[in-house]
Symmetry: C2
Subunit: 205 residues, 2 copies
């Protein structure tokens, strides 16, 4: 079983194939809605073979979430105290929007998990995620205190950025349904709008 890191080439390949397949299936149907058979088929393996690599369905899910959470937070981590405040935050919005476009499955995976109460990653939310957000909130509050951006609540600013950007991944079906048949380039329009929104909101008078 793959408790630690994969050791052989076959383990590496199959482990990756399983996580890729699990991302596809879990993000589309949620934890409960996904089945081991679906994941196995998507990974090109038999069900017992799946369970040779991962002890259980839940183990796959946990491994997947753990492997992705770090990358998911990279854009926020990159928020730089030395840069221009407005440009830093708008840049963060753009990076987050780009992730929603390039990695919608990852976004939906987290959305599914959190909407249903985050039973499997609540500790990571209250731990590493909260720590990171707290840290960046201090930074943003500092910018506001120094008069370099408008005085806004840093936590709700971050929440709004998450909400507006991830919306294009999580609610993709709705967005397309309303914009259709026009708007195939709706990510570009979203970037324009969000850039305007946050520049205006953060500008100092």
């Amino acid at each position: 079983m793959a408790a630690g890191k994969p050791r052989t080439r076959i383990q590496q390949k199959n482990n990756a194939a399983i996580l890729e397949a699990a991302l596809e299936v879990f993000s589309a149907h949620g934890f409960r809605g996904a089945t081991l058979d679906q994941i196995a088929r998507a990974a090109g393996l038999s069900k017992p073979n799946l369970l040779y690599y991962f002890a259980s369905k839940e183990a796959i899910h946990v491994a997947l979430l753990g492997a992705l959470l770090d990358n998911w937070l990279d854009p926020l981590r990159a928020l730089d105290a030395r840069g221009d405040p407005v440009e830093e935050i708008v840049g963060y919005v753009m990076r987050k929007l780009d992730m929603a476009r390039a990695m919608p499955r990852e976004s939906r995976l987290f959305a599914n998990e959190i909407v249903q109460g985050a039973p499997r990653i609540l500790d990571k939310i209250k731990g590493p995620l909260k720590t990171l957000v707290d840290e960046k909130a201090v930074l943003i509050r500092g910018w506001a205190g120094a008069g370099r951006i408008a005085a806004v609540d840093p936590y709700h600013l971050i929440f709004s950025i998450w909400a507006t950007t991830q919306h294009y991944a999580d609610f993709d079906v709705q967005v397309r349904g309303i914009l259709a048949p026009a708007g195939e380039a709706h990510f570009a329009d979203a970037a324009t709008f969000l850039s305007h929104l946050y520049r205006r909101a953060l500008a100092t008078p």
Copy 2:
């Protein structure tokens, strides 16, 4: 069976109890994650009795979504061409935020459905919802054209309002996890922030 509208008092009572129970269970676990036994228990009925009132699990879900969609769109419908543009839009944001606080289960029900591809309400999204949004988009675009608000894409403005407000219902666990132990009054803070955000974004120079 309750194909049409309920006729007897018992039917009225049980129908309502079932929809209330279904809202509770579906919103917390998603369609696939919810079981008929759970719903039946929450409604105080036996499982076969549930199926006396609704033909199937899916029928309950569809009935629930249909019954709620109208109320869900009321705040947007109330957007009034005769009012002050900025106040109308900010008022819409506040009403939507208040719904997220007062009706989080309804919000999560829709979130669950749409994240997983909206298999059961895609037609309503492309139909009545799109029609309503198109109509309000014309109104907002008119305001922008007349220079009464800043020139913004009305569709992405509406998307951002949905995203930022529903975020507090759909991602409630995450919000609380990050704000804890402080911030029990986080809806008031959210209102302040969003009011600032949209006033700034829409103000004319």
